[in-house]
């Protein structure tokens, strides 16, 4: 005890000192913010980015940050889903859709002073293609594997065959990328943040820093976790990532090649996980905007003078059914009964933000390939009961998974939506066993590995091609659906390799009709996620793809 006391005293003094220093720092920072420095724009994000290298990302929180510092060969028009030029002002393909040629912009400078050339583009693609070791884990290379398949040397059987063949630079500003098979993923895939073009110097530096780990426990490479190494061409450059505060700071890049420079000097993304805390931070003036506004807060915020622009609709919320879990679920009549039992319009009316619609198929009506002739399933509990009786499944028990503590762009309040759906299912005599799971990692893992009878999930499109929706789910057997239907699988693999856009659209319509007849799950709704800004900022153009360009933001 005697020895312990001075130690305890010392610890106490140390803690006190740390506390003082910490509070000192905090107040200093507060002074900076409130000191009238209106050139700092702070945006409240719902989660931390996974990395500041977009090539390693697969989620919206990561891409929101990296999108400000990195650019892709092709981009989307502001506020829309049409493809427009990015780093390449023009692009074309050969007739088979296997050779994609990009005409690059002139005079594009990277944050570290390097110049953009066709060689650099090829260097980028070759980097991804030659990824080895831990990089081949989908946690790090999800989008590469989804769009370009595997790698130069696949190290595991789970990795698909590569579709990427090579990249050539016939002249300074022309890059040609060759793929083995045409795909509905091109050219849309070239607009994905994951395929942003990095500076050649940065790519060399990346090579010295390898990720490690297996399965879900991946350690991201060091360069992607702190500012300094990554360099893109965007209007902002990453200057600091303070993980303790959950803040990524970006500075205006003065040599930006585009026509207009960023409207603010400094852009900060601050992570505030809790929905109501984000709202309070905006109301208190601590932040200037935040994403995923709770629908109930929209009217309150508007009344208080905040700006709440409405985005276009580009997502789908659905109730997934895992057929192989129960023989009853393999019976199409039972699945039809589930669809007839759900009052989807009620969810749209009472839960979803303004502009939401009940879904009739697995793509929103803004995507080409939407079919008007799909089989629809009206809300009709009596019919649902009849169907269940006919199928001999009156005593159906369903384990229903839903995520807790999370807001998704397509699903503002999962627990409430679950309660409503559950009441509908129980009304037709189905016993529902609730299975609430935390979103990360339990929920995503459980649903992907087929651990629930039914579950709630959704998807926000990456680019405007129905394959980005339908292909994600139905281009082959997956545990998250648990069914075999060769008609649907074949239709989608056919459409994937069809180079002609018009033919593809017709095929999508056919696929949508086949899917809705087979009814692998019940599409519920499409709804626009709300975003809010303080009254004193000039808004960026809001995007249905949730791809806002914060360079457009400025203070009034």
């Amino acid at each position: 005890m005697r020895i312990a006391r001075p130690r305890a005293a010392r610890t106490f003094v140390a803690a006190l000192a740390i506390g003082l220093v910490a509070s000192g720092c905090a107040s200093e920072r507060d002074d900076d913010n409130s000191g009238g420095d209106s050139e700092v724009f702070v945006f409240g994000a719902a989660g931390d980015p996974a990395a500041i290298d977009p090539s390693l990302g697969s989620d919206g929180e990561t891409f929101r940050v990296t999108r400000q510092a990195f650019e892709t060969l092709i981009d989307h028009e502001p506020g829309g889903t049409e493809l427009v030029g990015g780093l390449a002002h023009d692009w074309s393909s050969n007739e088979e859709g296997t050779e994609w040629t990009f005409e690059l912009e002139e005079g594009v400078t990277f944050h570290d002073g390097e110049e953009l050339t066709a060689e650099v583009v090829c260097q980028n693609f070759d980097r991804w293609y030659n990824w080895a070791g831990t990089y081949q884990n989908t946690t790090l290379s999800y989008y590469w594997q989804a769009v370009f398949g595997g790698f130069a040397e696949n190290e595991s059987e789970d990795v698909p065959e590569p579709n990427y063949v090579g990249c050539e630079a016939p002249d300074e500003l022309t890059a040609t990328i060759t793929v083995a098979e045409p795909s509905a993923n091109y050219p849309g895939g070239f607009s994905l943040q994951a395929f942003s073009i990095h500076s050649p110097k940065a790519i060399e530096a990346y090579a010295e820093d390898d990720p490690s780990g297996e399965g879900e426990n991946i350690t991201f490479p060091g360069y992607s976790q702190e500012a300094g190494t990554v360099a893109g061409t965007g209007p902002f450059q990453v200057s600091e990532w303070n993980k303790g505060n959950g803040e990524v700071t970006l500075e205006r890049f003065d040599d930006y090649w585009g026509e207009t420079d960023a409207g603010v000097e400094e852009l900060v993304f601050r992570t505030i996980p809790e929905e109501s805390a984000r709202r309070q931070a905006l109301q208190a003036g601590d932040i200037h905007g935040y994403d995923l506004v709770a629908p109930a807060d929209v009217s309150t915020l508007e009344e208080e003078g905040f700006q709440v622009p409405i985005r276009g609709v580009f997502n789908i919320l659905y109730m997934g059914i895992i057929q192989e879990r129960q023989p009853e679920l393999e019976d199409v009549q039972v699945r039809q009964a589930l669809a007839h039992a759900l009052d989807r319009q009620n969810i749209v009316d009472t839960q979803l933000p303004e502009g939401g619609v009940a879904a009739t198929q697995f793509i929103p009506d803004t995507v080409a390939g939407y079919s008007e002739d799909v089989q629809t399933y009206e809300y009709d509990p009596e019919l649902a009961q009849e169907l269940l009786a006919e199928a001999g499944a009156e005593n159906l028990t369903l384990e229903f998974c839903y995520p807790t503590e999370v807001t998704r762009p397509y699903m503002p309040a999962p627990a409430d939506i679950y309660e409503l759906l559950r009441a509908d299912l129980e009304a037709v005599g189905i016993t529902v066993e609730p299975k609430p799971l935390t979103w990360n990692p339990d929920y995503q893992e459980t649903t992907r590995s087929g651990g629930c009878d039914v579950y709630l999930l959704g998807w926000t499109g990456d680019f405007n091609d129905a394959y980005n929706f339908l292909g994600t789910w139905f281009d082959g057997y997956t545990k998250e659906w648990g069914f075999q239907n060769d008609e649907i699988f074949d239709l989608l693999s056919e459409v994937r390799t069809e180079p002609d856009v018009a033919t593809r659209e017709a095929m999508y319509e056919e696929a949508n009709e086949a899917i809705m007849e087979f009814l692998p799950g019940v599409p519920i709704s499409s709804s626009p996620p709300s975003i809010a800004f303080s009254p004193d900022v000039n808004l960026p153009t809001v995007s249905p793809l949730t791809q806002e360009n914060f360079a457009e933001v400025s203070f009034k």
Partner: protein
């Protein structure tokens, strides 16, 4: 050690002393004092009301608490809620369920968790405390050691903030109603153990025990037949107080999302957590369960505190 343990030991010692001069036992005296205390009467009234509601709640509830009868009238996306009205005295919740019915039925679950966890704490605590007290008083040197080991363990549990301990247990065991009961019960264990041990130690030196020992009654019989029954009094008093904390802690755990995974089942803590999101638009939704928890806990605390005061004249000044 801490004021907490001091308080517990003191209560044990005091209740064990019999007042030989007046002829009336401490218990009679205490009951007389209790009856004249307004605090105690209010406590009893609230407690009685709560228990009655919990018992008959499901029968007097005007509507089914889990069915979303008016779900077409509540628009959470536009911030339009339905407040108190003729049909629904306490308004509707965010999914169009009758708030009054949910309050009435929710009381039962709250009481159930409170009672079961207190019983759990009582049984396990009394077991440890009894063994420890008996070992120290009659077990010789080996008994002393056993007592030291048990009591240091109990002191360790006491040293941890009770809610923190409960949250840790609930987090490890996963989300369910049983978890909440166990978590809240475990928190009560050290209090009961310490109390019974202290009480038994005071009894161990009483004349009748000495007499029994001198007559050659076996140690086991002395403990089971004489010391233990006479030591249980203060532990039973503690149960009332424990019930109050159990109810608050059960509500707290449910509020934190560690309670019944079926969120449709009404429970005050869960209701409060669900209403919090809509506090700006529909404060009445949060006020009902919050008031319910506060008033009930107040009732139990009033009763428990006044019982303690009645038993401990020195605390009354």
């Amino acid at each position: 050690m801490s004021t907490k343990t001091d308080k517990i030991d003191r209560l044990a010692a005091l209740t064990a002393q019999r007042e030989t001069t007046t002829g009336g036992s401490l218990w009679v005296e205490a009951f007389r004092r209790l009856r004249s205390s307004k605090m105690a009467l209010i406590g009893v009234a609230i407690m009685a009301l709560f228990v009655v509601i919990a018992l008959i709640g499901p029968w007097i509830a005007p509507h089914n608490p889990t069915s979303q009868l008016w779900r077409d009238e509540v628009f959470t996306n536009r911030g339009e809620f339905v407040g108190p009205r003729g049909e629904n005295w306490l308004g509707l919740d965010h999914l169009g369920r009758d708030q009054l019915s949910r309050m009435l039925v929710g009381a039962r679950q709250t009481l159930l968790v409170g009672v079961i966890s207190t019983v759990l704490g009582f049984v396990v605590g009394a077991l440890i405390g009894g063994v420890s007290g008996a070992a120290l008083a009659f077990g010789g040197r080996a008994g002393q050691r056993l007592d030291t080991v048990l009591m240091r363990f109990i002191d360790m549990m006491l040293a941890m903030p009770s809610l923190l301990l409960a949250v840790s247990i609930a987090a490890v065991m996963g989300q369910s109603l049983t978890t909440v009961m166990i978590a809240v019960g475990v928190v009560q264990v050290p209090i009961f153990a310490r109390l019974l041990r202290g009480s038994m130690l005071s009894q161990a030196n009483a004349d009748y025990v000495l007499a029994a020992r001198a007559l050659g009654v076996r140690r086991r019989r002395v403990v089971m037949g004489h010391v233990l029954p006479n030591s249980l009094g203060p532990v039973i008093v503690q149960s009332t107080l424990a019930l109050a904390t159990a109810i608050i802690e059960a509500a707290a755990l449910s509020y934190l999302g560690l309670g019944n995974p079926d969120a449709a089942q009404p429970e005050w803590g869960v209701m409060l957590a669900q209403a919090e999101r809509f506090f700006d638009e529909a404060p009445f939704m949060a006020i009902c369960p919050a008031l319910g928890i506060i008033v009930t806990a107040l009732g139990f605390t009033l009763l428990g505190e006044s019982m303690r005061e009645a038993l401990d004249p020195k605390l009354r000044s």
